[in-house]
């Protein structure tokens, strides 16, 4: 007994030695900080090994991608990575903001019967590829930045409206009835039941559709290559079989996507703290 009590507190008992690793494979288990960091390490090692030893020769080696990064970061102007990432990021943020505002308005108006058919039409349009509207956009906007923003905004809105309307449709009838029996008028019901409580979920919808936005951006920039951007660069490097450069840009997109996800969580945490408490409850 004396030996056991003399052990340092940090040392796990023998039967608990593998505890953090057992946490990782438990169904619906909660993770401590130690297990969480180990999961990340396990996956980083796994991905590195798969990448390095992968049998698909089309996939460039990590060293080649690093070299491509160095080349593109060193290049100036339209060939440089910094410039192209800036162009695409600007398009992504502007497009996402405009699409979010338009989609919120269209989605929230769906609680008013008069606007429901319009909402349905917008939702159906998501099945039509955005490039199918090229001629329409060419007629309405000048080629380049205005057309790219219009295409991205329109394309994202089709999906955002669908997701956001889904959020509104899932509001339980009981919530409307609670407001009604409390004597709320239509405007109060709209604000207190439809708009205000769903804002955190709307942020989630924007976050989810931001990924869709990146898929669209690369397609849109392929059609509008005059100003550069990640999409036009991926197209250009792919057509000349320079895969390390392509993968370097894909990694950049991945990093930006992770950062965007983190920013969305931060916005929710600051503006709607209850939503994160509710998610954890």
């Amino acid at each position: 007994m004396e030996n056991i009590s003399a052990k340092p507190a940090a040392v796990l008992p023998a039967n608990e030695a593998g505890y953090p690793f057992r946490e990782m494979v438990r169904v619906y288990g909660s993770l401590g900080a130690f297990a969480r960091s180990h999961i990340v390490i396990v996956w980083v090692i796994l991905i590195a090994l798969v990448w390095y030893f992968n049998p698909i020769r089309a996939l460039p080696f990590p060293g080649e991608v690093l070299a491509a990064f160095r080349r593109m970061l060193g290049a100036d102007g339209a060939q440089g990575m910094v410039y192209n990432v800036y162009v695409t990021l600007k398009l992504n943020i502007v497009g996402m903001l405009i699409a979010s505002v338009i989609s919120l308005v269209v989605a929230y108006l769906s609680v008013i019967p008069l606007f429901q058919p319009f909402n349905k039409i917008i939702q159906w349009l998501r099945y039509i590829p955005i490039v199918g509207f090229n001629l329409v956009f060419l007629t309405l906007f000048t080629i380049g930045w205005p057309m790219k923003v219009a295409m991205l905004t329109t394309g994202m809105s089709f999906f955002l409206v669908t997701s956001m309307t889904g959020v509104i449709d899932s509001i339980p009838r009981l919530k409307y009835e609670l407001a009604k029996v409390l004597g709320y008028n239509d405007w109060h019901v709209f604000w207190s039941v439809v708009v205000r409580p769903t804002l955190p979920a709307m942020i989630d919808m924007v976050a989810q559709n931001a990924a869709m936005g990146w898929v669209m951006i690369t397609a849109i920039e392929t059609y509008n290559r005059t100003e550069g951007g990640i999409g036009s660069q991926i197209y250009a490097w792919s057509s000349t079989n320079n895969l390390p450069e392509v993968y370097a840009y894909l990694i950049v997109i991945g990093v930006i996507a992770v950062l965007e996800d983190w920013i969305f969580v931060l916005i929710k945490r600051v503006l709607f703290p209850y939503s994160l408490i509710a998610e954890r409850a």
Binding site: K180, P200, S275
Partner: protein, 294 residues
């Protein structure tokens, strides 16, 4: 005890041995509610449901609609609250005094729903303040009143909490207080004893009694299938159910099958009501004789 089946009028005057009954406050007149079914038939939930809640002089009022599952209690609740329209009949509510009555509108009657919905994006305090402000109360007054209620119901510490952080019992109390903030005289509680252990049932009964006694204008309508709790808390119990035909088959459409006037029975408002022999007799009668027939 008085059989009130098919009765559609308020009692004309004080019942024998009862407290002094004043003007009618809420009347259900021949309410019927039918729902179309997928196979083209019609489901009759309520048929000629009539009852009358009268003001009782200097007494709080707690009325229970008691019935087994499927007896149309929730349908009746929705119609009384104005959330649903009857297929036939009407619900009338007192229009400020005397015998002047008008059709009930949504918002006239407060409802504490079974799952205690609250505004999840508002703190507990704001769940009480916002509806009161929307109803026309000044914000300072509403806040003061809300804090007083929270204090009275041991919820001060939860004032700044989010609804998701409350226990079931705390949530129920907040939901009741939210309706009380409105200063309306009718509050319906939908199955307030459902899923509670005996200790918590007693707590809920005490809370309802306390609120009803604080202000004799408050009238609680309790929708429940819990016979003991309904008899413990109420001054009138209306038994909801379906009549049977000669072959013993239920006739579609629930109505008031029996009314128990517990004031006339001499057991309402009694502090140790559950110890009274008459209480046990009525409970036995409902459980063993009336419920199986409904």
């Amino acid at each position: 005890m008085e059989n009130k089946a098919n009765n559609n009028a308020c009692a004309p005057g004080p019942l024998t041995g009862a407290a002094e009954m004043l003007e009618p406050l809420l009347k259900l007149e021949n309410i019927s509610r039918e729902f179309p079914m997928n196979d083209g038939t019609t489901f009759v939930a309520l048929k000629d449901l009539s009852l009358c809640i009268q003001n009782i002089k200097d007494k709080p009022q707690i009325v229970s609609l008691l019935g087994p599952s499927g007896s149309g209690k929730t349908t009746a609740l929705r119609i009384i609250a104005g959330l649903d329209q009857p297929t036939a009949g009407q619900v009338l509510i007192s229009n400020g005094g005397g015998d002047d009555m008008r059709r009930v509108r949504v918002g006239d009657v407060g409802v504490v729903f079974q799952r205690y919905p609250l505004f999840e994006d508002l703190t507990v305090l704001n769940n009480l303040v916002e509806p009161a402000v929307r109803a026309g109360m000044k914000k300072d007054e509403a806040k003061e009143k809300a804090l007083r209620y929270l204090d009275e119901f041991n919820l001060v510490r939860q004032g700044m909490a989010w609804p998701v952080q409350l226990s079931g019992g705390q949530r129920q109390r907040v939901a009741i207080l939210q309706q009380l903030m409105q200063d309306r005289h009718f509050i319906i509680l939908d199955e307030p004893f459902s899923g509670l252990d005996p200790v918590n049932i007693t707590n809920v009964i005490n809370i309802i009694n306390r609120i009803a006694n604080e202000h004799t204008l408050n009238t609680f309508i309790i929708i429940t299938h819990d016979v003991t709790s309904a008899l413990t808390i109420s001054d009138h119990v209306y038994l909801l159910g379906r009549e049977r035909d000669a072959g013993g088959q239920p006739i579609p459409g629930s109505r008031v099958m029996k009314e128990y006037d517990l004031i006339a029975e001499g057991i309402a408002y009694h502090p140790d009501i559950e110890d009274l022999p008459r209480f046990a007799e009525i409970r036995k009668e409902i459980k063993l004789v009336e419920f199986p027939k409904l």
